[in-house]
Symmetry: C2
Subunit: 143 residues, 2 copies
DNA sequence: ATCGGAATTAGAATAATTCCAATTTCTACT
DNA sequence: AGTAGAAATTGGAATTATTCTAATTCCGAT
């Protein structure tokens, strides 16, 4: 994938017919376009509701299927906060998430340049990390 | 709470009648003793099953109630991995969790001494973090 | 002892997600 | 272009973890 990262709001029909080895069906393109469009970390249900505008017959099961396909092909990321419903994020850069408890809005938070996991965690040596999720909650200072 | 941290397997009846302002009922003591005993990050259902040995009439709802009481009084911590069921951890030190994908076992991982969040995250200034959860998954090197 | 609030209980309800079986749509091959 | 087989979609049912509810029980303070 060259730079979907920086394509803000592609029309679904402008998305390629295959991405990362995943065949892009009409529904998958619609779902991906929604996630690339409003980057507000929507839930599956949010995506479903938005998708219905252009595609009134899409089903929620399909939205879940599409999301799982996109996630497992590393085209979008799944984001979890405690036991809330999963959210989806098109930013594939290494980053984590901060949820403002006031507004509920989720912000991407990037790592300081050059920081590696081993720099701040006492990892048992030989550990191979396949997945990392950092979730923060709090408030944004109001001064 | 002085040092429940280091009390390995207290008998429920040895736990105090109040902790952190929370009245410790028979059931809450049982649940807490289980979590302090086997520190294997049990789920609510695990706790329920274990509790039934000594207390056959305890209900799952009560286990959930007790866990929520203990968590909200900062006596135990709730641990989440993606959308798996929550697990519970008596270690209140600042730490995060690593799940070995092979065995499913969860290990506590501590931070390098003196490391602060701002050292590795580009936090928008003025952010006040109330909650932080870091979950890692991977494998433990086998050499 | 007893009153009142808090805790416990069993079971129903909910929410998010997954499963299922029946269609529909693609893709590849003739 | 026509068609078989595979893959994707669909609606609805099922599942799972958790929360809610209403009735009972418990416990500490009067």
């Amino acid at each position: 994938m060259i730079s979907l990262q920086h394509i803000k709001s592609p029309k679904p029909e402008d998305l390629p017919s295959e991405l990362e080895g995943l065949r892009m069906t009409k529904q998958r393109r619609e779902v991906l376009a929604i996630i690339l469009g409003e980057r507000d970390h929507p839930t599956a249900n949010d995506v479903y509701v938005r998708a219905q505008n252009r595609m009134p017959t899409i089903s929620l099961a399909t939205v879940y299927n599409c999301l799982e396909a996109l996630v497992s092909h590393h085209i979008v990321r799944q984001v979890n906060f405690e036991r809330e419903s999963s959210r989806y994020c098109p930013n594939l850069e290494d980053h984590c998430h901060f949820q403002d408890e006031e507004s509920g809005i989720i912000h991407d938070v990037i790592f300081k340049k050059g920081v590696k996991l081993e720099d701040f965690l006492e990892l048992p040596q030989g550990t191979e990390i396949n997945h990392l999720e950092i979730s923060l909650k709090g408030r944004i200072g109001s001064e």
